[in-house]
Subunit: 187 residues, 4 copies
């Protein structure tokens, strides 16, 4: 069994199915990008209320060439109801746009293969892989948006000459009439 | 007048007073740190509801050796009521922990000196200065926590060998009894 | 088919199963209480993020003798995955405390029996029944907590001498040290 | 000194000034309406983040003929900076629409006259007066929107034949295309 040691090359995802992508993704084919894997179960409250919206925010904030977001459905309880069909309905109703992989069920136990391979503790788990394909974060539970942004921003900057974020320097539209609105006060 | 051109060396803050610090801070004395300046007015709704909590979150997330958060009170309207005394009461009641500078009033107009020097558009404005003292962000309006975290994380990683965030890899305490709580589901 | 005309006597729920209660509930047995029925599907995002927490808040705020909260699972899509077993897992993981009824599937169509009987438009729907057993609200979509509180408060007061809310007049614990905390400023 | 005993006739507000109204309001002139008084200080964090938005929500939800919202600025600390001029700037920038009264400063102490007369403990305080002019709630600290809605809804229903809320029974616009959006799932 490959262990997902911190800093080690990320083991491939062992999957039984993919949603929201024409072709299964392989981590080895994503070198040069930062990969963010949101590991969830569709009946996990913290995944639904916090993890999925955070993963969608990552997917929207970063350019596809920079960051690849992947959902990984790792069913380790309620196997009979968290089926692939249920996942498809869930992904449809929650309008998830990024690719979702179904973790391959174990032939011998309740924990699916990738989940065990990465020695995850539960869901939600956030796994972040750097541009060289190494596991740099394997975190069970919540992280704030600021923590996640900080982490990804750091990985994007590694091995790169000084980056000048252009989009972030654009200001909002000028306010009309009022000096202040709920966003700010205009000079 | 020095212009705060993007990437240029950050002009010093011109201040009339400081709160929450024994000594006035000088940007030139903070080389090696990323500097985050939250520019606000105490009667600016977006500053109070969004900017101040975000600045406090930055102050709490990052080590003091890495990131210096500074509040800058730039009064360009309602000068008679947003006095230094009002700012002191505000900072006390809102329990602001980071140093706050009062922008030096103009002798000729309504816009204070630093605000004009940095050509800011209004409040809230977020200014971020890199470890070499250059202005890298000068943004009027709201940025999400993820955007801000991403930006700071990038600047912290520049000119540095691969950084391995240790604190972020710690998981939450194990849940007792229930499989899932609002944070997550435990294996 | 009984129509759920506004102000008419509420038709009984036609159910195939109940969770979180030893005995099936009958509306006719709840006269004298205000009945709040949160109608949902477990894969309905607005039900999960807004409706369920609101129903739980109602359940916690009001005494059992005053208000009976009932969840009603009305599956009109994705029938194969929103099974009773899935509902049980959902109710467990989301820690729902109030009784939940499963709307009886139609023998001829996709819309379950109670949903059709009440002419509901979709989920979430909030149905409120007064102390005399009449339907007083049958609302599809979100209502704010203030709207819902206002509505229930009104129904509780009907046919009753002036009510003096005692619990709401209790103040919070005194603050120590600081004049103001995030809740308030103490004299 | 009149004491604001629970259920007693509400003593008049003693004010030095009014904002957002052409004429000073007198409680005795508002019989037949429920009166909601949000008592605040402009430098009180809990008032600004919770109380003011709640008071504005009340103002928007209820018809003017039913509920009169009044802000009452009771300065008991930082008197030198929470002046009437500061309050005017605050009310302007926060776009407060309902009438605001300035509590009359005490000639002998720091607590203003109405605040003492009502024996308030601090800010925010919510005072609710029934249609007959009696004090029914005098609460220091936060109440949830559901609690406040419940309380007002109860008072509106007193001394009135069964009320049929019409506005609350209107559903949202039908959703187009998707079965579910973040608000709900359409049949």
């Amino acid at each position: 069994m490959t262990q997902a040691t911190y800093g080690a090359l990320a083991p491939e995802l062992e999957t039984s199915q993919w949603l929201n992508t024409l072709e299964p993704l392989r981590l080895s084919g994503l070198k040069g990008k930062v990969i963010v894997i949101h590991v969830f179960q569709l009946l996990c409250p913290g995944c639904v209320s916090h993890g999925i919206p955070q993963a969608s925010a990552i997917h929207e904030l970063y350019a596809d060439e920079e960051v690849q977001v992947i959902g990984l459905h790792t069913v380790f309880e309620h196997h009979d109801v968290m089926t692939v069909e249920a996942l498809k309905a869930f992904a449809h109703e929650y309008r998830i746009r990024f690719p979702i992989a179904v973790d391959r069920p174990s032939t011998s136990g309740t924990t699916p293969v990738t989940m065990e391979r990465y020695r995850m503790q539960g869901t939600p788990t956030l796994i972040v892989i750097d541009k060289k394909g190494r596991v740099r974060l394997n975190h069970f539970g919540r992280l704030s948006d600021m923590q996640v942004g900080n982490f990804i921003g750091g990985l994007l900057t590694e091995d790169q000459s000084a980056r000048m974020s252009s989009e972030a320097t654009d200001g909002p539209e000028p306010l009309d009439g009022m000096n202040c609105d709920e966003d700010g006060c205009l000079l």
